[in-house]
């Protein structure tokens, strides 16, 4: 009797894992974005991701993809004065991004940086504490990338003005080393090869 019960339980556990395992495989596969333009292998895609990841680690990108408060400077310390996300990713009453940052560009007198739609990245796009693989999976998930398909992701990297600030951050701030056009090519390859992500 006991033996039969155990067998039954084992069987239930095994069949459940098979069902969930298969579902997980499908779910993961469906999580890769449409491939966009061009052709590339999965290996090309992974290689391209590694190049993209070196750019995302630049403080110009990383500093504002944080949970609650942006970081500041090449040394990535907490923003001084302390500012917090607030309801609209633009700070709280009294301390808004626009209290100091211009939407038109860097300030040549005070050196305070500025660019259009200056803000903290939305919480679902947080990178704080994430591995490159985690960031990769987040970036290809429309629920976490601002509902962007392959084409819109390319546009984001290639044309968004706030992203573009990474190459013209003003005096005293390290710009992104890789030329923007080269980064855009890597993004296209990553997508064309199936938006592959490291473990």
């Amino acid at each position: 009797m006991r033996f039969a019960q155990i067998c039954l339980r084992q069987f239930a556990v095994i069949s459940l894992s098979v069902v969930f395992g298969t579902a997980l495989l499908f779910w993961q596969a469906s999580n890769n974005l449409s491939h966009g333009e061009g052709t590339a292998s999965a290996a090309d895609s992974l290689k391209a991701w590694d190049k993209i990841a070196t750019v995302l680690e630049n403080p110009r990108c990383l500093n504002c993809h944080q949970v609650n408060s942006p970081l500041q400077g090449d040394e990535r310390r907490l923003h001084v004065p302390l500012v917090v996300r607030g309801e609209d990713n633009l700070g709280v009453p009294g301390m808004r991004c626009t209290t100091c940052h211009s939407q038109t560009g860097n300030n040549p007198t005070s050196s305070v940086p500025g660019a259009p739609h200056w803000s903290l990245a939305p919480l679902e796009m947080n990178w704080q504490g994430l591995s490159p693989g985690d960031i990769c999976r987040q970036l290809r998930d429309p629920k976490k990338n601002g509902n962007r398909n392959a084409e819109k992701l390319v546009t984001h990297f290639a044309e968004d003005e706030l992203v573009g600030w990474g190459w013209t951050p003003g005096k005293g701030r390290m710009p992104v080393a890789m030329p923007r056009a080269e980064l855009t090519e890597h993004v296209k390859t990553w997508l064309a090869g199936g938006s592959e992500c490291p473990k």
Binding site: P81, P93, M95, T99, T109, S111
Partner: protein, 151 residues
């Protein structure tokens, strides 16, 4: 030529669009109520309102605020401003006074958006205003006092 609306009045100014608003206020218009502390958006002494929200005038390019309503400490009006000024006097907030024009501007902006701010709201909203005399406790008490008088 750049036209700025300050305290309800238009001013035509022959300045570059990148010029800091603080320089225009203090050096061109002789409105010295707004103070220069650091010049790099680190102290809050230069705070003014642009369309009702607090702005560091040392880091505001005048070209960005053409067509906006700029208010300085000299142009304060309305019941929130009154309540803040009264509370400031009642609790004797000011020590040397240097930071206080900026503190008052930030406090009004805060109270205009949050009617009954908590200590946490006050700390977060006033974070960018430094007081070298350390009047922070009195500032916080005066903001609560002003909120109470407005309720």
């Amino acid at each position: 030529m750049i036209t700025l609306n300050i305290n309800g009045q238009n001013h035509d100014l022959d300045v570059e669009p990148e010029m800091p608003l603080l320089w225009v206020l203090r050096d061109r218009l002789n409105m010295t109520g707004t103070k220069f502390g650091c010049g790099v958006a680190q102290c809050g002494a230069c705070t003014v309102h642009v369309d009702g929200e607090s702005r560091r005038s040392c880091s505001t390019m005048v070209g960005d605020v053409v067509g906006s309503e700029i208010t300085t400490i000299e142009g304060l009006d309305g019941k929130v401003a009154k309540a803040v000024q009264t509370a400031w006097q009642k609790l004797d907030v000011v020590q040397c006074g240097y930071c206080q024009s900026g503190q008052i501007m930030s406090a009004i902006a805060l109270l205009s958006m949050i009617e009954k701010p908590t200590d946490a709201d006050i700390d977060a909203g006033m974070e960018g205003n430094i007081c070298r005399c350390g009047t922070y406790q009195r500032i916080r008490a005066a903001i609560h006092e002003a909120a109470k008088s407005l309720a």
